[in-house]
Symmetry: none
DNA sequence: CATGAATGAGTCTTCATTCAT
DNA sequence: TATGAATGAAGACTCATTCAT
């Protein structure tokens, strides 16, 4: 996961120190701090100085590691979205039937919230800005790809008769997606609810509904 | 403290009363503009100048109507939250049984999104800031009161046997709440989905689940 | 005192209402409010709105009575300074000997503080601004005229042998002036010290000094 | 709260230490400029831009050194008031008799005006604001402590018989205080009056009074 | 790598003043 | 006389970013 950042030219400006991965480590640290703050206060509400303060350096010094605040956001997002899409794709590929695939998608979503609450929160909270901000079009694109996976499985389930045919898959997808990802707002990785248990509870209702009859 | 208008004669919406001495009509106009922008760009990302520009005046002139940007936010929120809580309370009071009450709560929620998409979006997007911002504690309090209503009806349904007993009501409430309110992100009042239809679809899944078996 | 304003063309714009002195009365009221605030918070720190609020009208409405904030200050000052200079001049004229004149000047100064604490405070606090502000040169000029009176009597006293010859009259004048007028900072017209008593105490030290020997 | 620098190593004034890593040298420079302007135009009338202009930087850049305009005022004041109180206390402690102590207090006051005319002027002019401004209560407190020193010595002198018993010490203290400190309004450090001479003149009148008899 | 100083554009807010009604 | 709405200029402060050392 920390190996992410696929696509960008590894940065190591003035590539003096051969191999030089210690710089890269500091970079990850700073990225973690930034992510935490972005998630907590929001991207726009987090100042470069907030990040630097937390890291114990001056704000100007951050620019030795990143060329802009936006670059940090970009990197955090890619590190989260790329593997997520990859995993969803794998789930879809490997699944045997729609029920199984859907359940696995759900379970992995909750697992992702557990593993990267900060990135998920960031993604959730800043969604609207990504549509406006040039350079972040890939976020929307990734979202669309993920959506397609879910819609495909939902439709397949309807076709095969396991999912009720009278629901609009688009609406249903959105209900599911929002219910799941919004979880990040209250889920605490070390809280009383385990992410697997949350997934189980969610699937309980999703499968059979709330009514007993 | 920043409550402002509470007590004033409700502004006679849709200028029925002929004489129309207007009262704080301009104020309402400006508030509408502000709400729209707050909802679209986010509160912090909306500048006072944005609002003024949209209104065709200078930014300083806004302060003739409001004492601060925050006051606008406050007023917009109260005008949305107070009636919402009132309505939810009434639904709980008048409902005959848990199923009926729950359904009505759901339907009214979607109706509220339809009627005040801007306020709902604002509420959704800025939730985290309200917990930090002094003077906005009532937002959290109102949220708690609403939560209590939903939890009460869910528990009552479990007790009476109409709702399945094996789900955690707290988790279920959150799933429902988030699925519903997140709708505001894509719902368009004049789009192809009518809010009643969305509610029906949601209830379909909520009642019986997605699986046919 | 309220008859002051000598020099300006009586203002009564649109001199419709014959005699119309009721307007002039409101004017005095407003002037009183302004003076109070100017003295308490300082001229620059007092906003036109502060004055209007205190008067129970809107700030724009003040401009029916005065053409500017500065005009208010000007009028307040003239109403205080003109009579003061007049009185000092009279004291100098009528006095029989330097001791008597000096004492009377001192006594009247304290009486003026008692009678117009607000104007005195204003004069004291804004002295520096008057030197910079165009249109207020007469304040400095009046100050100079008053200074001349005091210096004359001090010199006369030295010449006649009643005042010690080894003090610099300019310095002494400043000491006296500052000690007296600064009184306004703590003197309360209805407090425990009567202005006559304060004058007596001051003269006690001024005449014979603090030492017993 | 706004105390800031207390605890830091006094800035090594007059860059003795060779290496001159400067510490907050720039800060001191800026503080000097601010003090000058505050004293001349008044605190409220001095804009942050005035200070920045004088320093040859942009107004926003000042915030690299100070967190607010108020912090500058605070620092200027503390740097003046703390040593002043210290010195007054020392004079009281070391003095042998009331006459000597009083004279020394007077002389040091004039010396302080000579040494820090800017701070004294600031203190004099903004006294009223300090009572209102939260965070500046220490100014009033320091004033009270100084007052206590003077009152103590005046009372002691009356008890020992060197000071006349028929004067109210509180009034007398105020007369003395105001006459001395007001000096700052006209005293020029490089003018024709030396501060020692001014002190002598003042003491002349204070000791024996103006009258020859 | 990091500091310390600065930039420049922008943010919210204030306030004396104007003017149509 | 007063209101209500607005202007326009200014004020304190913020913040991403740059750069010499």
């Amino acid at each position: 996961m920390a190996a992410g950042r696929s696509g960008q030219p590894a940065t190591t400006r003035r590539g003096s120190r051969a191999g030089g991965h210690s710089g890269s480590q500091r970079r990850s640290e700073l990225l973690g701090i930034a992510a935490e703050l972005f998630a907590t206060r929001g991207y726009a509400q987090t100042t470069v100085r907030d990040i630097a303060d937390e890291a114990g350096i001056l704000s100007g010094s951050l620019y030795h590691h990143f060329s802009s605040k936006e670059e940090m956001l970009d990197e955090i997002l890619r590190e989260f979205l790329d593997p997520l899409l990859e995993r969803f794709t794998a789930i879809e590929k490997q699944g045997e039937n729609p029920e199984q695939v859907l359940d696995e998608l759900v379970r992995h979503s909750f697992a992702a919230i557990h593993a990267s609450p900060v990135a998920v929160a960031l993604y959730q909270n800043e969604l609207t800005m990504f549509s406006r901000q040039p350079g972040f079009e890939y976020v929307g694109r990734t979202g669309k790809k993920i959506e397609k996976i879910w819609l495909t499985v939902l439709k397949a389930g309807q076709k095969s008769g396991v999912f009720r045919p009278d629901v609009d898959v688009h609406l249903t997808y959105r209900f599911i997606r929002d219910a799941i990802w919004s979880t990040v707002r209250w889920y605490r990785p070390r809280g009383k609810y385990k992410h697997e248990a949350v997934a189980v509870q969610f699937l309980l209702v999703l499968h059979g509904g709330l009514h007993t009859a």
